[in-house]
Amino acid sequence: MAGIVGYGAYVPVHRIKVEEIAKVWGADAESYKKGLALVEKSVPSLDQDTITMSVEAARNALKRAKIDPSLIEATYVGSESHPYAVKPSGTVVSEAVGTSRNTHCADFEFACKAGSEAMFVCVGLVNGDTVKYGLAIGADTSQGAPGDALEYSAAAGAAAFVFGKEDGVAKVVATHTFMTDTPDFWRREYEYYPRHGGRFTGEEAYFRHVATASKQMMEKVKMKPQDFKFAVFHQPNGKFPMKVGEMLGFKREQIEAGWLAPILGNTYSGSSPMGLTAILDVARPGDMILMTSYGSGAGSDSFVYEVTKKIDEVRDVAPKTRQQLDKKRYVEYGVYAKFRGKIRMAD
């Protein structure tokens, strides 16, 4: 059975507050803060992208895994903001962390669940004895059009996991997936910003898929919400994961440890995987964790993990996720616009 051998996250240092964005667009900050249940979001610098954050998260995961990177035989990077349209992010990440040259390498895309896809495939390859260790990463420098509701939440961050055959810090008890063709959010070729179906992104999209995948998963492993110490769901904002958790029968205290969106924003492919890293930072041996991602288009991957004794040995070896969140520097909208390439420059 596969396990998480090492895990790591990366959060850029810059933040922008909801008030700062609302001020520019003449919007009511309080209604956005209340509606989205978030107060600020992370902002990548000019010199940061999905690849740079993936490398940093992977290095943190490898510190905790305590393995020679050359033993990694699969590298998968899930993102909807790969820096190149044609040229893999995974090759740069592999080269930077020093994996084997025989690493099977691919970039995944499935809106916000590209990261959990990478995890899902790594678990399968490890369970099937195709690879000894697999590196799965979810990372994004999320796009949101200026003035759009998405601009208040679209953030940046990365989470990385080394999967191996041993139990590691958490055993992968089961995986499950659910998907339909649901056009709730998309970005066409050559378009800079995504479009979305407004309220249609809720009931038939996020809630249906996350709830169905989670319910089916709990039936599969014959567990109830009260059997889990922690649960983490995709976090497009602060409100949705709490609401879907409540729908499923989870209590607030089961979700809070991995509930990062209120001070991080939506890191798209990094979202629920980063929440999982924050949970592992505080979990105790024997704790059960339910993780369910969501990607527009649409689908959800669900995982059940059981934390092992090894967690206490590796927890402090790399920066914890909330420690990184506490280290921040606020920027004004002008700097944010420059960092995010929203200003048209002369050639």
Partner: protein, 130 residues
């Protein structure tokens, strides 16, 4: 930067790989063909530490074309743990908050890009350690 040159320099830019002279033990970064201390031509590959101390820096206000979007920015000399000196940008800190002697950590960043259609060159920069 041409793709071929960028490709050749990946080990040192991505993983801080240096050459350690097999005869006298001098560590050369970037790696060299001939040891400047003893003239030997054989080296072991070693990885440098990813933390160090900022020894000195300057602020670039009029930057080369591929860096204009980043100016003003700091370029410093960092003594990595183990004693090797590297020249690197110092980022994620306000210029008037940079202090000589402060601990810094190496991070993987975009260094430059060849316009919007060319290759993106990645490498190391330093950020405050704490």
């Amino acid at each position: 930067m041409f793709p071929a040159r960028y490709w050749r320099e990946m080990p040192q830019r991505y993983r801080l790989e240096a050459g350690k002279c097999k005869r006298c033990g001098k560590v050369c970064f970037p790696p060299r063909l001939v040891c400047p201390k003893c003239g030997n031509r054989t080296f072991d590959t070693v990885r440098l530490a990813d933390e160090g101390v900022l020894k000195t820096y300057t602020v670039i206000r009029v930057a080369p074309s591929q860096f204009t979007g980043q100016s003003p920015y700091a370029v410093g000399i960092v003594e990595l743990d183990g004693g090797v000196l590297i020249t690197t940008q110092v980022v994620d800190i306000l210029l008037d908050e940079i202090k000589l002697g402060q601990r810094v950590r190496v991070e993987f960043r975009r260094v430059q890009e060849d316009g919007s259609a060319g290759i993106i060159c990645y490498g190391y920069k330093c950020v405050p350690a704490a």
